[in-house]
């Protein structure tokens, strides 16, 4: 049969080894759109959404990380207990599509699609998540920032799957922000994730939908680290403004059917400033 509904990781990897260019199907919320609209043809599918190893997650208290199986769905991520450990990913998860989409869409599929507008990827980038890849030839780990290499392009080799994503548990305030034409069921015009690492005294900022891949903002992050009192959650209005300007400067947006580059730059400045103020409510 040309559709393999894998019920173990081994079976999925064997099927992919036998047909390395098969379409890997997780939640289907991206792949099926391409099939329905005739943008993709396929004669072989390996369905991985029911692979138990990919559907489970583990919490590592000692390392303070959560390892999410690639087929963990957004409906699970935006509920506790995952939401308590990964609040920004949960927040982003709540804006990924509708309840129907979130019941199917997986975090690994979100990453594998490698859309520049992927809401979940922006959060994973801000949190320096690690992507665990597996094939019948073995395993390798890739930092999330090196996983996507362009719009809808990534380092996955034929026959290779995302097995899991390790995400550090929140070590300070974190939040996700998104601009789009409505609240539900919308692809971001621009999105942003800010995560504070209190013990390290640092602030991470990632931007989506404003470049060929998700972007980090090293200059804005340096401003925040140097000028914010992270422990007291304090930032001056000048710091917030400088942070927002630096975030805007890091954006590399284009004009397209969803918005203009100029509006996206403006949106980035507003979102970055708001996120930093939420993280640092005291002036």
């Amino acid at each position: 049969m040309s559709v393999v509904v894998a019920d173990s990781l081994e079976q999925a990897l064997d099927a992919l080894a036998a047909a390395p260019h098969a379409t890997v199907l997780a939640g289907g919320t991206d792949v099926m759109v391409e099939l329905n609209l005739g943008h993709r043809r396929t004669d072989a599918v390996v369905a991985v959404a029911r692979v138990p190893e990919l559907c489970s997650w583990t919490y590592d208290a000692r390392r303070a990380t959560v390892r999410l199986g690639a087929a963990v769905r957004y409906a699970e991520i935006h509920a506790d207990p995952l939401a308590a450990w990964l609040p920004a990913l949960a927040q982003a998860g709540r804006t990924v599509g509708s309840p129907q989409i979130r019941a199917a869409a997986t975090v690994g599929g979100n990453l594998a699609t490698s859309s520049p507008a992927g809401d979940g990827i922006t959060v994973l980038a801000a949190l320096d998540a690690t992507v665990h890849l597996v094939s019948s030839a073995g395993r390798r780990d890739v930092p999330v920032g090196q996983f996507t290499v362009g719009p809808k392009r990534n380092v996955l080799a034929p026959g290779e799957l995302i097995e899991a994503i390790t995400v550090p548990v929140a070590r300070g305030w974190q939040g996700f922000s998104k601009v789009g034409v409505r609240n539900a069921m919308v692809i971001a015009t621009a999105n942003a994730c800010l995560a504070v690492d209190e013990p390290a005294g640092s602030v991470a900022l990632a931007l989506g939908s404003v470049g060929p891949v998700i972007l980090r903002c090293p200059e804005a992050e340096a401003i925040a680290a140097a000028q914010c009192d992270v422990a007291a959650r304090r930032a001056s209005p000048a710091t917030v403004a400088a942070f927002a300007e630096a975030a805007m400067a890091a954006a590399r947006p284009i004009d397209d059917h969803r918005s203009t580059a100029a509006y996206r730059r403006h949106a980035v400045r507003v979102m970055a400033g708001r996120l930093l103020r939420r993280a640092m409510p005291h002036e």
Partner: protein, 160 residues
């Protein structure tokens, strides 16, 4: 290549023959199994008019690869009730005037059943969020939300 598989739909085994590998569940339900309640509009998960339950979860059938749903329990509006004997949700939609052109209604009925299974007495915000994946271009949603609230209230009274 032609695919042969059997889906479990509304409690019955339904063989599917000579299918293309990439067919959506929506296509198979409508074109191969003759179940016309789920509606096809956007074919990209935006409108919710094709919503069905797969293993109890409401999903867009246009985004389910039919051949990958083997072994799962699929429920469409046809499986909710016999003709002429509507469920309380269907009756409330009629009573509240929540049906105009009717195209989105089957998807909304499935999403409403799924919501009330999880949350017996949802707030208006919870109703709006639960139905946010179902687009209606006629009603403006007010009467749809009233219908959901009516069901919740009637079930609450019946349960007392």
């Amino acid at each position: 290549m032609s695919e042969q598989y059997t889906l479990r739909v509304n409690g019955a085994d339904r063989p599917v023959q000579d299918a293309w590998v990439g067919e959506s569940l929506l296509y198979v339900l409508r074109e191969r199994l003759g179940l016309l309640a789920a509606k096809g509009a956007c074919e990209q998960g935006e409108c919710g008019s094709c919503s069905v339950l797969v293993d109890g979860e409401v999903v867009c059938s246009c985004l389910v690869l039919a051949a990958s749903a083997v072994g799962q329990e699929i429920t469409t509006v046809e499986g909710l009730a016999e003709p002429g004997a509507p469920t309380d949700v269907q009756q409330a939609y009629v009573d509240a005037g929540a049906v105009q052109c009717g195209f989105c209604t089957p998807g909304l009925i499935m999403a409403t059943h799924a919501l009330l299974e999880r949350t017996a007495a949802p707030s208006e915000l919870e109703i709006r969020e639960a139905l946010s994946g179902n687009v209606c271009r006629c009603t403006g949603y007010g009467r749809i939300i009233e219908a959901v609230q009516q069901v919740a209230a009637r079930r609450g009274e019946a349960g007392r």
